[in-house]
C-alpha cells in the first residue's frame, strides 16, 4: 500500500495551525487536531471481529454505539509499551473519502496534553522514501527541541474503505 502515489494528498493534507492533542504511541510522540477528537475514554471490553486486519482490535460499546478500536502500534509496526496502565482510547471522528463520518477509537500508550501549534512550528512531512510509511501524517510539529508527528486520521480510514481492504475478498 506504500506504492500509492503521494502527490494528491500533499495538497489535501497540509498541517493546519491550531490546537492539537498530543499523545504517545509505541513510545513515539504524535498529535492529532482537536477538532477530530470526540472524547478520551479508558479502554473498554473489546469484542474481537473475525477476519479483520490485526490492528483493528474489535468493537466496543460506547454508550450504546458500536465503535471500532484501532491499535495503530500494530499498523505502524511500533513496540508495545511495557506498562499498559496509562493506556487510553481516543475516540475520533474520521471522514471517509465518500464524505461519511465514522467514529473510531485509537488505543494509545498515554495521552499527554493539548498544545497550540502556530504556523511557524509546522512542517510538511519530510520524505524518507517510500519504505517509511509517512502517508498517514499530515506533517510534523516542532515544540522546543522535540518533534511531534501529526496524524492524518482520515487517511487511515481510507485504507480500510478502499477496494483492497486487507487481504480478504468476499
Amino acid at each position: 500500500m506504500n506504492t500509492l502515489v503521494s502527490a494528491p494528498k500533499a495538497e489535501t493534507a497540509k498541517p493546519v495551525p491550531g490546537k492539537y492533542l498530543a499523545f504517545v504511541l509505541g513510545g513515539e510522540s504524535y498529535a492529532i487536531g482537536v477538532m477530530h477528537v470526540r472524547e478520551i475514554i479508558r479502554p473498554l471490553d473489546v469484542t474481537p471481529v473475525p477476519r479483520m486486519p490485526a490492528y483493528i482490535q474489535g468493537v466496543v460499546n460506547l454508550r450504546g454505539k458500536v465503535v471500532a478500536i484501532f491499535d495503530l502500534r500494530i499498523k505502524f509496526g511500533l513496540p508495545m509499551p511495557e506498562s499498559l496502565d496509562r493506556a487510553c482510547v481516543i475516540v475520533v471522528q474520521a471522514h471517509s473519502s465518500s464524505g461519511a463520518t465514522t467514529q473510531i477509537g485509537l488505543i494509545v500508550d498515554t495521552v499527554e496534553e493539548v498544545v497550540a501549534l502556530g504556523a511557524e512550528q509546522l512542517d510538511d512531512t519530510p520524505s524518507f522514501g517510500a519504505s517509511l510509511g509517512t502517508e498517514y501524517l499530515t506533517g510534523m510539529a516542532r515544540i522546543g527541541s522535540t518533534v511531534k508527528m501529526l496524524l492524518n486520521i482520515d487517511r487511515i480510514l481510507e485504507d480500510e474503505s478502499g477496494p483492497a481492504a486487507g487481504s480478504f475478498g468476499l
Partner: protein, 684 residues
Amino acid sequence: MSDQSLLNRLFASLEGELTLVSAGSDQSQFPILDLLGNMRDEAREGDLAECARNAADRMVSIIESGKPFTADDVAWLQDVTAELRSILAPPASASKPAAAAPQAAAPAAPPEAAPAPAADMSVSLNLEGDGELLREFVTESREHLNNIEQGVLVLEERPDDADTLNSIFRAFHTFKGGAGFLNLIPINRLAHALESTLDLARQHKLRVDRPIVELILRGRDLLKLAVDEIEVRVSGSRPNEPFSLAFAALTAEALAVVEGGPAAVVIALPKAAPAPEAPASAPMPEKSAAQPTATVKVETSKLDSLVDLVGELVISQSLVAQDLTSLSRMDPQFARNVAQIGRVTRELQRVSMSLRMAPIRGAFQKMARVVRDVGAKQGKEVRLVTEGDDTELDRNMTEELTDPLMHMIRNAVDHGIEMPDARVAHGKPAVGCVHLRAHHQSGSIVVEIEDDGEGLSKERILAKAVEKGLAAPDAKLSEDEIFEFIFAAGFSTAQKVTDVSGRGVGMDVVRRNVERLRGQVAVSSTPGKGSLFKLIVPLTLAIIDGLIVKIGAERFIIPTLSVRESFRPQAGMVSTVQGRGEIVNVRGRLIPLMRLSQLFGVEGAATDPMAGVIVVVTTGTAVKCILVDSLINRQEVVIKNVGDLVRRANPAVAGAAILGDGRVGLIIDVHVLSSSSFAYADAA
C-alpha cells in the same frame, strides 16, 4: 403600479374562502375582510380599489353586527366576487359574471372561473422567494392528495358518505389555497374545478358515480404529478424550468361536469357503480374519519440515539441491581428505590421502542387503489376488504413492505380473480374479493393476502417447472414443494403477459425483499376457491430475536427467524465427504456443516462436533448446519450498525448488539453464510 400577480393571488384566495361561506355560519368572515382589505390597499386606485373598498366596508359592518352570514350576504359576496373578477380579468370573464349569479342560491358553489384556457399554462416556481413555502406545500400536498385518494375510494362504495365527501372537499380546498398562494395558477385552477365538482356532490346535486370517481382520481393523479415536478425542482435535483402538464383538458372536463349541472350527469350516467351491492361488511368505514392525533416530526437520528441511550440505561440499571444483591447489609428503602428505577427503565424502553411504530394502515390504503386500478383495467369487479389496519409495526417496515404487498395484490387480482362471467359460471358472486389482513403473532407481524379466485394450478406450475428444468418430469412432489416453484426466478404461469403481471419478475423478487427484511413468505391454495399468501416479518428492523451462541470465548448472535432447530449431534451423524467438506445426517437429510470457529478463526472452540451443538439454519431454500460450542440463551436484541469498515472486511457480520453485560455481540448474517458463493478469499 400595483402588482397584478399579487392581486390575482389575493383573488384566488378570496375565491377559496368564498367556498366556505354559507348562510347561517360565520366561517371565513375575517379572512375575507382581510383579503378585501389587502386588495384595496394593493390596487390603490381605480375600479378594483373602489369595489374592494366598498366590499370591505360592508364586511366590517357584517362582522361588527356579530351575526353569521345571511343568505343576502352570501348572494352579495358572490356578486362582489364576480365583479372583482371582471375587473381583474376583463376579456375572459366579462361574459360570465351574469351566468354565475343564478348559482348564488347554492351558497358554497364557487362562481365559475374563467373558461379553461385552450393551451396548458406552464407552471414556474419562484425558488428564491418561495423555496421554503414550496417545500412545505409539497409535504402537505402529499398528505392531502393521499387523503383524497383514500376518500374517493371510500366514496366509490358509499357515495353518500357526507363525512368523506366533506373531508375530500376540504383537502382539495386547502390544496387549492396553497397552490393559489404560491401562484401555481394551472394547479390552482384544476384543484378548484375538482373542488367545485365535489361541492355539487356535497349538496346532493351530483351523484358520485364511476365517471366522477374516475375524474377525481385522474385529477388527483395529475396534481400528484405536478407536486412531484415541484419537488424535484425544489430539491434542486432538476433545474428550475417551467413545466406544463395536461391541466387544461382535465380542468375543462371537470368544469363541464359542474356546468352540465346535476340533471345532465345523472341522466347521462345511470348508476353503473356497484353502490347498491356495496356490502355492509366492508370494514372501510371510519377510515377517513379516523381522528387525527397530534403528532410531532422528529429526526430519526434523534430517535435512534434515544433508543441507544435507553438501552444503555437498561444495562446500567441491571448492573446496579446485581451489585445490590451482593451487598450484605441492604437498606430496604434503597432496594425499593432501585427496584422502582428498574420498573421505570423498562417502561421507558418499551415506550422508546414504540416511538417508531405506526399502524400498517398507510400501506393498506395504497392497496385499495391498486386493486381498483388493476381490476378496472381488466374488466374485473374486485373488492378489497382489509382487517387489522391498526396493527402497528416499524414505520420503515411499512415502507419496505409496500412493494412486495403491491406485487402480491396485483397478482391476486390479475391471476387469482377470474372474469365476472367465469365466476358466475362457477357459482361464485361476480364481484371478486381480496382480503388483506394483518395481525401480530409472537413478536412478528403476519400479513395475509387471500383471494377467492381460481387458486393455484398445481398441474400448470409443475408443467412449467419441468419446462424450465426446475423439476424432473417424473418427480413426486408434495403440494408445498410444487408451490415453492412460484418463488423461483423468472417463473410465471400466467398464460399471457399482461400489463400488470406475467413478465416473470414476480414472486422471486417478493421473496427476496421479504427475506431481506428477515421475513418469510408462505402460500397455500385450494383449486377453485382461491389462494392465501402469508407474509411473516418482524415488527421492526431495529430489533431481532436472536439465539446467542458461544464459540470459544466469543458470543455470536444468530437471528432466530432463520434457525430451524438445534441439537447435540450423536456419534456418526457427521461425516466427511471428499472434497466437499463435512455433512450432517439430520433425519436422513444431508446438510453441509460449517464450522464457525474455523471460518472466523476463533481460538479455543470445540473441534469435536460431539462436544458442541449443531444449529440448523435455513434461508429460502438453502439449509446449513452451523457448529457452535453451546447455546447461551435466546433474547431480543437491538441491532446496531457496525459500520462499513467491518461489513466490508467481513460480510458475514450483519451487525452488532449490546448484550446484557454491556459487551458487544456480533450478529451473524445467515444469508451471506449460506449463500453458495460465499467464501473468504484465503479460507482454507
